[in-house]
Amino acid sequence: MQNSFDVKLAQRRCRAYRRRILEISQKVTALHVAPAFSCMEIVDVIYHAFMRRAETGWFDDAFIMSKGHGVMTQYVILEDLGVLPAEQLNSYCTPSGKLGAHPDLGNPGIEASTGSLGHGLSIAAGMAYADRLQGFDRKTFVVLGDGEMQEGSIWEAVMMAPNLKLDNLIAFLDFNDYQGLGRTTETHPHFLPMSEKLCSFGWESVDVDGHDSAALVDAVQNRTGDRPLFLTCRTVKGKGVSYMIDAPIWHYRSPNKQEYEQALAELEDVESVGA
């Protein structure tokens, strides 16, 4: 997998995914753009480097967007993979479509209904345990938000997963250091260190740059593999568009026409421009 993972291609893909999200943002006002951008490379790596897919089109591995407000990232990747039709994304959050602002089980490629925070890790652990019990060769990937890490239910699952020896469970923390009312590390000054906390609970735990696709792939590939794996991925909220970076308003706001054009210019496909 590592050898076949083309980092340059991943970068181009992620720029295109961000542009697609911005395009959709021009149709609806309520859209979580910035939190989708912070987990872009993480979700891209999960789908393009790790998720195995059968010829039938079904995924052999599972992915749960526990920080449900990041689902736009998942939607555009599923669209690119041919799992979600373009018309579904084009009718996002409208009565004629089926996709909402949080993942809803039953839509193609969506494995769990999230949106309320703190649910995804327990569900993922249940899936991973059931897979092991039934002898299924399947990995379960889950993306968590840093605000979400404050939910007690997360820590119940954190304590439980190593007990169940879930070496088939891989969690990525999208640590963009922002939550509803400000910086995560200001809300909870002892939020860090995170990796040590997970390590002490019995996880294999590493820190990684969440926008460095190669580093993300390496971190998973180089795991010991006998325990659940937790990657604390340092990310930037709004990554890819300069004016969105670390500006809390972009948790909810959609760009206006001028802002949209500026964002597109920043996310231009440099490869094709140069070619």
Partner: protein, 317 residues
């Protein structure tokens, strides 16, 4: 009820490898202990952690297993309620949440252990079924149904251990979603669920002693989906209908029966006995706690104008 649940689960689980039980530091002894020994991979104890208990069950159900979550009713319903709502009901997964000690069974443990509002909360959830058997035999039948239905989440509300058998001579068989007549009579009908069905039978004896007419007694074991037609039929064929439930008055069987009475234009006298809308700061036996809220045969018979026979009168100091 607890023991019959455990022995039935063991029996079914030995046959069906999809059955898993996830407990939160509370587990029935006996057959579940044996299940744990014989099938260690299908018994999970999350410790004192009810949210992950429900979340794990959701994930396992999505992967084809048929999990049961089990702990004391207050902790299986109130603590992880949002997980039940979002993970089980919103996703519509076949997981059974078992609450042991429904009502005020744990009478000396204080209000933190009284599940007085669980039926209201659970019946309000879309996709959720709510089953409250009245005796060990109904517990076995309910467990059997829950372990084999592949559709939706369900809540199984149990009492504790040592309940008497009330249904061995029942008129109707146990059918999920159907009101079950235990005795058929005329004039007066009693509707109840859970172990307080015993009180309905005792009151029916008093009615018969006083009027010479046998009274109808029915177990409303399936509180959701409620057998509205069956209840409307009882309401329209009796002069007096009495609902008894170990639950607060709002959101339980009594309020539903009143709705059905209105919808079906029933004209009978309708009386509902329930727990009051108050926490209980009183300690004693289960029966003594119920009596504090008027749920005792003496209080209810007085309220209904029935004469206590010498034999059934419960002497109180």
């Amino acid at each position: 009820m607890r023991n019959r649940f455990a022995s039935t689960f063991y029996e079914l689980g030995a046959e069906d490898p999809r059955l898993v039980i996830v407990v939160a530091d509370i587990s029935p002894a006996g057959s579940i202990a044996k299940f744990r020994e014989d099938f260690p991979n299908r018994f999970i104890n999350t410790g004192v952690a009810e949210q992950v208990m429900i979340g794990l069950c959701a994930g396992m159900a999505q992967r084809g297993l048929r999990p049961f979550a089990y702990t004391i009713a207050t902790f299986s319903v109130f603590r992880p309620y949002e997980m039940i709502r979002d993970d089980l009901c919103y996703q519509d997964l076949p997981v059974t949440v078992v609450g042991i000690g429904g009502g005020v069974t744990y009478s000396t443990l204080g209000g933190t252990h009284h599940a007085m509002e669980d039926v209201a909360l659970m019946t309000s959830l879309p996709n959720m079924s709510v089953i409250a058997p009245c005796d060990p035999a109904e517990t076995a039948a309910a467990t059997r149904w829950l372990a084999t239905q592949n559709q939706h989440p369900a809540y199984l509300r149990l009492g504790k251990a040592g309940e008497p058998d009330l249904t061995s001579n029942a008129v109707d068989p146990f059918v999920i979603g159907k009101l079950r007549r235990i005795r058929e009579g005329k004039g007066t009908a009693f509707l109840a669920y859970g172990p307080v069905v015993k009180m309905a039978l005792d009151l029916a004896d008093l009615v018969e002693a006083q009027t010479g007419l046998p009274a109808t007694v029915a177990s409303a074991h399936t509180i959701k989906p409620l057998d509205s037609d069956g209840i409307a039929s009882i309401l329209c064929s009796h002069d007096r209908v009495v609902v008894i439930e170990e639950h607060v008055s709002h959101g339980g069987l009594g309020s539903r029966v009143k709705e059905i009475a209105w919808d079906s234009r029933a004209s009978c006298d309708l009386r509902c006995f329930s727990l009051r809308d108050e926490f209980i700061h009183f300690y004693g036996s289960h029966e003594e706690l119920l009596a504090q809220h008027g749920l005792g045969v003496p209080q209810m018979s007085a309220a209904l104008g029935l004469q206590q026979s010498r034999a059934s009168h419960i002497e109180r100091a």
